[in-house]
Amino acid sequence: MSDASLHIRSEDYEPSFGDFFALLKPRVMSLVVFTAFVGILAAPTSLHWVEAFAALLFIAIGAGASGSLNMWWDADIDAVMRRTAKRPIPSGRVTGESALSIGIALSLLSVMMLGLTTNWLAAGLLAFTIFFYAVVYSMWLKRSTPQNIVIGGAAGAFPPMIGWVAVTGSISIDAVLMFAIIFLWTPPHFWALALFMRSDYDDANVPMLTVTHGRRSTRNHILVYTIIVAVFAVAAAFTSMGGPFYLAVALIANAVWLIGAVQIWRRDEEMSEADNFRAEKSFFKFSLLYLFLHFGAVLVEAVLPAGAWGGW
């Protein structure tokens, strides 16, 4: 992080409430809320609805806090990348110091309140997630290794597990599988993005796989990870959170997902540039739907009565 990034707010700009809220990465928070909600509902026991709501809120605030810390640290590379240049700090709407203060305050608040509301294992997992995203991923891995996305993906994979643990007080195979699906889904999702947003990562000197190992290697990696995540995603159908409905959704979604990965793998740069990275862009778009379909199916299984389509 450069020193300049901390002091780039223009003096005459008065930040609004929305500028501070944008530090929490609301779009990422919505995904966290959704997956944590699924973790809470899929758990075999249940919380009082007020406790469940509070748990969800504090998990979301924890995710927002880590987003704010990430924006504080990454302000210099956010300013270089087209996709992130309009974020509150690089655009001069909020100072780096404000983002750091908000990040630390909300981290402490969310962890403490989740512990008091549910249990301290869930709170510990939330604290570890914030630490992992802000320190391990943002400060260490992102700028030092092309495996940044692979290991850093763990931060985004924890919320459904935290939701599950908030209800049950323990970690089970179902929670681990929900974690594994997001953890293994993250690399191909971001590598597809890196294939068609290449100048962004190059300009910011972020060692993405496309830059360090080449684009052919990235295409190979996307295919391998897609196959691995498909195995885990289908295997989840045979645990207590799965069922016939989930299995049907997983089979269809993974078939489409694999076809997309094979298409990317068979293409070279010439073919991709000829149609403006159509296959890579559609794979990236579908990857968002892919995650929604799987966690939506787990949600449906949790709501449906057993014996019909719900559960085995």
């Binding site: 008065e14 930040p15 609004s16 409430f17 929305g18 501070f20 809220f21 009082h48 007020v50 406790e51 509070a54 809120l57 509301t117």
Partner: protein
């Protein structure tokens, strides 16, 4: 000395203060409701057991 602020700056400060106030109010309400739920979950005997001696009426009858 009062600061001479433009209406745009005033509006932004006002929205920021209002947003912060609403968040604090929502947090206080959540704490109150959460506390009520936690106490309810303890039940009649549970809520007295930490710092009180249970009333004889709350103890299970023998035989």
């Amino acid at each position: 000395m009062f600061e001479n602020v433009t209406s745009e700056v005033h509006e932004k400060r006002s929205s920021r203060n209002m947003g912060t106030a609403l968040c604090l109010a929502a947090f206080i309400i959540l704490l109150a409701v959460l506390s009520a739920v936690k106490v309810q979950q303890l039940g009649a005997s549970g809520s007295e057991r930490f710092d009180h001696v249970q009333r004889p009426a709350l103890l299970p009858e023998d035989g």
